[in-house]
């Protein structure tokens, strides 16, 4: 499964019969820090997610199993609406930079302009 955000929806009048009645959403994949990553995709939806909502989606054959006993011709389906993401900062993929860089040493043979308080 992957994290994503609903950024639009797709209307289609002529489509596979199994896809009739299915909502189709445009999804922007996200990183755990909620930054955009990768290309936008079209997903069917089994949750009723709305524009701007944080969701997670399934890829592959399992995407059509969300609609059993129907098996629509879909390979990506939104299966949950995300309330919150808890990412432990120490285990995050990109550790944050140090809060304050160490002050540069004063040039040799010259006094610092102001004494550090």
């Amino acid at each position: 499964m992957y994290l994503g955000r609903v950024v639009g929806c797709v209307w289609s009048t002529v489509k596979n019969r199994n896809l009739e009645g299915q909502r189709m959403l445009v999804i922007q994949p996200l990183t755990p820090e909620l930054a955009n990553t990768g290309q936008r995709i079209v997903c069917t939806d089994c949750t009723g997610a709305g524009a701007g909502e944080l969701i997670y989606w399934v890829r592959g054959r399992e995407a059509s199993l969300a609609f059993l006993p129907n098996e629509p011709a879909t390979d990506t389906t939104v299966v949950g609406i995300v309330d919150s993401v808890h990412v432990k900062s120490a285990a995050a993929p990109e550790p944050p930079p140090p809060a304050a860089p160490a002050p540069a040493p004063p040039a040799k043979g010259r006094k610092p302009l102001r004494k550090a308080s």
Partner: protein
């Protein structure tokens, strides 16, 4: 299967019924040297893993469904084991 580290958890109130009662984990796939490999993914928990654990993640649907114990459900990734140690033989190329 992927080597990955659990970096967090998702909270989702409204989700497919087959995902109820299982933790939903954010896992970051790793290279053999421990560096990140691609973007973190979402996986259901089958072994009671927690944040910081190094785990084995399956990315195939049938395997994920059976490990969680829910056949024919929309589950394509699951955490299916803990990794204690990885040994790489240097003389085999």
């Amino acid at each position: 299967m992927l080597i990955a580290r659990v970096i967090g958890e998702l909270v989702a109130t409204y989700k497919h019924p087959s995902h109820e009662g299982r933790k939903i984990l954010m896992v970051q796939p790793l290279n053999l040297d421990g560096t990140n490999r691609g973007v973190a993914v979402v996986a259901l928990d089958a072994v009671d893993a927690g944040v910081g654990d190094k785990v084995l993640v399956t990315t195939e649907g049938f395997c994920a469904c059976t490990s969680v114990g829910r056949l024919l459900q929309p589950i394509d990734m699951a955490v299916i084991g803990f990794i204690d140690q990885i040994e790489i033989l240097s003389d085999v190329s």
